[in-house]
C-alpha cells in the first residue's frame, strides 16, 4: 500500500482552498438557502396543534339544540369551539384570535379561514360536515317514522360511526431543513471527484507521471494512490459539512452509523467514477464538467432538487438514478429510523464502485502501457 503517496495526495487535496470551499462551505450554504425557500411546501403534512374555531349562530337555527354535542365532538378533535355573537370575523382571523370561523345559519353554514391555515380549515370542515350530516339524517329519520305512525322513534345511535376514520400508515414527511440537509450531503458526496483534481492537475502540469512510472510502483498502487485519498478526503469534507449543518441548522439524521456508512460508500463510488473520468479525458476540466453533469442528472432524477415524492418523472428514470436510493434511504432513516431501500442502495453503490473501479484501473493501466 503506497501510504506515503496517499498521505501526500491527501495533503495536496486539503491544501486546495477552492475545493475546500466547494466541498465544505457550499453544501452548508445550499442547505440553508433551499430549506428556507421550500419550508412552506414541505409543511403541508405536519402535525396540527390544538386550535380555536369561532362560531356565530342565528337565534332560530334548527342547529341551536345540537351545539353542546357539537362542542363535545370538536373537543375530542382538539378543536376549541368558542361563540362570538358579535365582532368582525375577518378581524378575528387576522388577529389570530381564531384559526377559522363558522357562520351557522338556518339550513347551512359558511366556513371562513385564512389562506395560511388550510390544514386546520380542512379539519374544521370535516368535523362540521360529519356532524351536520348526522343531525340531518336523524331529522329525516324521525320525520319518516312519525309519518308512518311509529311512536317508538329510533335514532341513529350516537356512538355508531357512519364514517369510519382510519389512520393509515403513510410515509412520514421530513421538514424541509432535514430533507435538504440530508440530500445535499448525499449530492455533494457524489461530487467526490473534485478534490482529486488538485492532485491530477498538479501531476499533469509537471512531469510527475513520468517520474512515477520510472519508480517501482505497481499499476495497482498507481490506482489506489488516487482512489483512496479521493474518497477519504471527500468523506472527511462531507463529515465536516455534515457537522456544521447539524450544529447550525439543527438537521436530524437517523441511524448515524448507517448513514455515515452510506455516505462513505457514496464517496467511494464517486471516487471510482472520478478516477475513471480523469483517465478517460486528458483535460482535467473536461473530466470535472462531465462528472458534475452526470452527478447533476443523477440528482435531478434522484430528487436532489425537489422532494422526490412530489416529482412527476417517470419512475423508471428515477429508479435508474443511484441518488434516488441514497436519498430515500437517508431521508427514511431520519423520518422512520429504517428504510426498505437500504439493500438496493447498497447494491447500487457497491456495483458502481466495482464496475468503475475495474474500468478506471484498466484505463489507467492502458495509459501506463502507452
Amino acid at each position: 500500500m503506497p501510504l506515503i503517496l496517499i498521505k501526500n495526495n491527501m495533503k495536496l487535496m486539503f491544501r486546495s482552498k477552492a475545493f475546500l470551499v466547494i466541498m465544505i462551505i457550499m453544501p452548508v450554504i445550499v442547505i440553508a438557502l433551499l430549506s428556507t425557500a421550500f419550508k412552506d411546501m414541505m409543511a403541508s403534512a405536519r402535525e396540527i396543534d390544538p386550535f380555536t374555531v369561532g362560531y356565530r349562530i342565528t337565534a332560530d337555527s334548527p342547529y341551536q339544540a345540537y351545539l353542546p354535542e357539537l362542542k363535545e365532538v370538536c373537543a375530542e378533535n382538539d378543536v376549541n369551539l368558542v361563540e362570538y355573537p358579535e365582532g368582525d370575523m375577518e378581524n378575528l382571523i387576522k388577529n389570530q384570535s381564531v384559526t377559522a370561523f363558522v357562520d351557522i345559519q338556518d339550513g347551512d353554514y359558511i366556513l371562513y379561514q385564512s389562506s395560511e391555515k388550510n390544514a386546520e380549515a380542512l379539519v374544521t370542515e370535516s368535523i362540521f360536515d360529519t356532524f351536520f350530516y348526522n343531525v340531518d339524517a336523524n331529522q329525516v329519520l324521525v320525520k319518516t317514522q312519525l309519518e308512518q305512525g311509529i311512536t317508538a322513534v329510533k335514532l341513529i345511535e350516537p356512538d355508531k360511526q357512519l364514517v369510519a376514520h382510519e389512520v393509515l400508515e403513510v410515509e412520514p414527511m421530513p421538514t424541509s431543513t432535514d430533507y435538504y440537509g440530508i440530500i445535499y450531503i448525499a449530492f455533494w458526496s457524489f461530487c467526490g471527484m473534485m478534490p482529486l483534481a488538485a492532485v491530477i492537475s498538479s501531476e499533469r502540469k509537471n512531469a510527475i507521471p513520468q517520474r512515477m512510472r520510472v519508480s517501482q510502483m505497481t499499476k495497482g498502487q498507481f490506482y489506489l494512490a488516487k482512489f483512496i485519498p479521493c474518497f477519504l478526503v471527500t468523506f472527511i469534507e462531507m463529515c465536516i459539512a455534515w457537522t456544521i449543518s447539524v450544529v447550525l441548522l439543527d438537521i436530524h439524521w437517523g441511524q448515524i452509523a448507517a448513514s455515515a456508512a452510506i455516505i462513505l460508500l457514496a464517496t467511494m463510488a464517486a471516487a471510482a467514477i472520478g478516477v475513471f473520468l480523469y483517465q478517460l479525458f486528458s483535460k482535467v476540466v473536461v473530466s470535472i464538467v462531465v462528472g458534475f453533469l452526470l452527478t447533476w442528472i443523477a440528482g435531478f432524477f434522484g430528487g436532489s432538487f425537489d422532494p422526490y415524492i412530489y416529482e412527476d418523472f417517470p419512475i423508471t428514470l428515477m429508479k435508474a438514478s443511484p441518488l434516488y436510493y441514497v436519498n430515500r434511504t437517508l431521508v427514511e432513516f431520519s423520518t422512520k429510523g429504517f428504510s426498505d431501500y437500504t439493500g438496493t442502495c447498497l447494491f447500487y453503490l457497491i456495483s458502481l464502485i466495482i464496475v468503475f473501479g475495474i474500468l478506471g484501473s484498466v484505463l489507467m493501466n492502458r495509459k501506463v502501457e502507452e
Binding site: L5, A207, Q210, M212, S215, Q216
Partner: protein, 257 residues
Amino acid sequence: MEKAIVKLEGLTKKYDGKAVVDHVSLEIQKGEIFGLLGPNGAGKSTTMNMICSLVKPTSGRISLFGKDAQTDMREAKAKLGYIPQELAIHGNLKAWENAELFISLYGIKGKELKKAIDDSLEFVGLKEKRNVFSKNFSGGMKRRLNIACAIGHHPELLIFDEPTVGIDPQSRNFILEKIKYANEQGATIIYTSHYMEEIEAICSRIAIMDNGKIIAMGTKKELTELVTAEEDSNMSLEEVFLTLTGKKLRDFAEGEM
C-alpha cells in the same frame, strides 16, 4: 573487464512509420558520465525514455544492469534515478514532502526514509529550506529539488535530461559539481544537454545523435579526431558538433518527435 550498465542493441522507435530513433546501439560502462548530444529532434529524449521504460521500443533490445529491460524492469528500476527535463515536483508540497513522496516510491520507509530525505536535501543544498513550499522556490532551487527527489534511493544509474535548462549560472555550476560528486561516489550518469560546455566539462564519453542515429561516439579527443587531422587541435565540442551535424536549422513541430 568493464561491466556495461546500459546496453542498447538496434534500438528503434517509429511513430506513424517514421523512425525517430533508428537502430541505435551503444554501451555505457559502470562509473561513466555519458553525454548524449544532438540537435532538436535528434531522438535523445526518446532514447532516454526508452531506457527508462517510459516509451516502448518498436524494435531492438535494452539491457539494464545485465537484464532485459522489456521483461525484467522492476529490479532495474530500484537502481535507476530519472531527472526529467520538466520539473517533476508538486508546488503545493514542501521540499521535504516532495522528497518523501518520491523516495518512498522505491519502498524506503521509517528512519531510513527520514535519513534519505535529509541526505538528498543536503546534497542539493536545500536542507535549510525543507519546510518551504516548492512553489515558492526560484527556478534553480526547483531544479535542485527535482534532483533531490531522484537520488534519495541511491540509484546506481542517474539519467539527467537537460537538468540545467533556464537556471542561473551559479545553480548550473552547483548542479554540475553535484553530478560529478555523485559519479565519484559510484553512480553512473547519462547526461543530455544543449550546453556543449557542460557536456565537455563533465562527460567522459559522448555520443552525438542526429536524425535518430548515432553519428559519432567517443571521448572528446576521439570526436575531435573525426573532424580534424590536427593532433593538437583546440576545437571546442560545439565546433565538432556543428561540423558533424551541420549548421542547418532544425525546426520540429510538436508531435514530430
